[in-house]
């Protein structure tokens, strides 16, 4: 079965408002972005035969919208879930299980409207072997490997701080970004410590918002074209390493990043040198550093200097996180949907901070604290050779 370029993203939209949205529930954010994405595809809700969602059940989303899907995917592995939904949709469409899949995200991460309660289970591996030591959400777990990375590769605090600085340069040109004012390394290092070595400005935002995608077969995208150019799914990958950050095999690299991206590159038949635009999930400043190395864009220990030297900034050789990322644009909790949205915008030439001549874009998602990963390599019709 050939999954490469067998399917395409033909509809994509974010909720009208992102950031602080205290008057819309999580479920309605799924639904609003779904309506907008279906309209963006030039389709009707009745064209949808598959629904995928994370955070809330796809059953809840589908019924709320008024549809009874015959393909559902509730894969929930953290913030990269939506990248896995695209992968699964591509495979399901290629196999003939369904024709048009709607993938939705909505999260009231900041205002907590209509959100499932957070539950701590003292019998779970995390409840037994991590929580007793005072973990309190992602800032106290995700950056666990940073000091080890610093010792092994000489990454400096200034280089780490250059990650939010680089991304803020992109956000300056993105009207929807939550933070757009210029940022200096000194500003980052002067912000308060959240979990040493991470300062406040090295941690992602906490926002409200949603987004949705419509995926269909490349054949249908051509025979029943919508108003927007199709974005072809060239290669996909997914992987899981561990539910516990303390059990990472190597604290200086993500096994899930490596496995997932290798699969996507192999399927797409391209390598890092072919990628024009990159999105790497940046819940914290060290993630783009791990991502650049684990995906093979730079060698081990080189990513900090690469970012600090401006290679991922506007005008650089590898434009990365061009919406400003989770550090400046928005971060609802499961941010992965926004990676894909920005990749789609860049490939359609409709991004706020548009990069010239993007033919291939790669989106690298993470789930949990390096728990899981998803990779999508997306391309224009020219890149797909169709």
């Amino acid at each position: 079965m050939n999954v490469r370029a067998g399917s395409a993203i033909v509809g994509a939209a974010e909720t009208t408002r992102i950031g602080v949205v205290p008057d819309v529930s999580a479920l309605e954010m799924h639904a609003e972005s779904a309506r907008l994405a279906v309209a963006d595809a030039g389709m009707k809700m009745t064209d949808i035969d598959g629904v995928a969602a994370a955070g809330l059940s796809p059953i809840a989303v589908a019924h709320y919208l008024g549809i009874a899907p015959t393909y559902v995917d509730a894969t929930t592995v953290g913030g990269c879930s939506f990248l896995l939904h695209v992968r699964h949709a591509a495979a399901a469409i290629t196999a003939g299980l369904c024709e048009v899949v709607l993938i939705t995200h909505g999260e009231s991460g900041r205002s907590r409207l209509g959100m499932p309660p957070r539950v701590a289970d003292p019998t779970s591996p995390q409840g037994q072997f991590e929580a007793p030591y005072g973990t309190l959400g992602p800032p106290t777990m995700f950056p666990m490997g940073v000091l080890r990375y610093m010792k092994e590769f000489g990454l400096t605090h200034e280089q780490l701080a250059s990650v939010p600085v680089a991304q803020r340069k992109w956000a300056a040109n993105v009207p929807r970004a939550m933070f757009r004012e210029p940022l200096s390394i000194e500003d980052v290092l002067a912000s308060r410590l959240i979990a040493y070595p991470m300062h406040l400005l090295e941690c992602c935002l906490v926002t409200d918002g949603g987004g949705a995608l419509v995926v269909t077969s490349a054949q249908r995208a051509r025979s029943m074209p919508g108003p927007k150019p199709p974005v072809y799914v060239l290669g996909t990958g997914e992987a899981a390493e561990t539910p516990l950050v303390s059990m990472m095999e190597d604290f200086t690299t993500s096994k899930a990043f490596r496995l997932s991206s290798a699969s996507a590159f192999a399927e797409a038949g391209v390598g890092p040198q072919d990628v024009d635009h990159l999105m790497v999930y940046d819940a914290f400043a060290h993630l783009p550093i791990y991502g650049l190395e684990d995906l093979g864009f730079v060698g081990r220990g080189e990513a900090g200097a690469f970012i600090a030297e401006g290679h991922t900034s506007p005008g650089g050789s590898l434009p990365m996180n061009t919406n400003g990322g989770g550090l400046s644009y928005t971060h609802t909790g499961m941010y992965g949907m926004f990676l894909v949205q920005e990749s789609v915008r860049q490939l359609r030439r409709e991004a706020s901070a548009q990069v010239p001549n993007v033919e291939i874009s790669l989106a690298q998602g993470v789930g949990g604290m390096f728990m899981a990963a998803g990779t999508l390599i997306l391309g224009t019709a020219a890149a797909a050779g169709v």
Binding site: T123, F129, G134, L136, P139, R192, L193
Partner: protein, 141 residues
């Protein structure tokens, strides 16, 4: 119950598969498992070897000697940790090989005092009706 959340550190709740481990900590023993088929030690407790998948595994008492592998220093208190901020949450590597999350005690919670690869030894602290392994600097080397 929600009121208690702010007063007590979270306590682990054993499952049948981890009970032997938690019985050990109450006796001041850090118990880990070792695979008889491949010889490797592992953590966290479970009845099959994550290296070779064998179920022929045994328990042993770890030496308690470890090295500080990595850590961060949390500036926001988890429930029960209000009097301790900032406090380190660490991962140590046991002499036998496996790693585990823990707290580091008996030392200032600063980057200057917490040096990666420093020698540590196990101690125990109460969490509810359970006892959890923590680690303190080990002077003899």
């Amino acid at each position: 119950m929600p009121n208690d959340d702010h007063q007590h550190k979270p306590a682990p709740k054993p499952t049948p598969e981890t009970e032997h481990y938690w019985e050990g900590t109450k006796l001041g023993e850090l118990r880990i498992q070792r695979c008889r088929a491949c010889g490797q030690a592992y953590f966290y407790p479970r009845p099959s070897c994550p290296h070779c998948f064998s179920t022929d595994v045994s328990w042993e008492r770890a030496s308690g000697r470890a090295q500080l592998h990595t850590y961060l220093i949390s500036h926001r208190p988890a429930p029960g940790f209000a009097d301790e901020v900032p406090y380190a949450i660490a991962v140590v590597e046991l002499e036998e090989g496996p790693r585990m999350m823990t707290n580091i005690v008996g030392v200032e919670q600063t980057p200057e005092s917490l040096v990666l690869d420093m020698a540590l030894e196990v101690a125990f602290e109460p969490r509810g009706d359970q006892s959890v392994p923590v680690f303190r600097p080990r002077n003899e080397s």
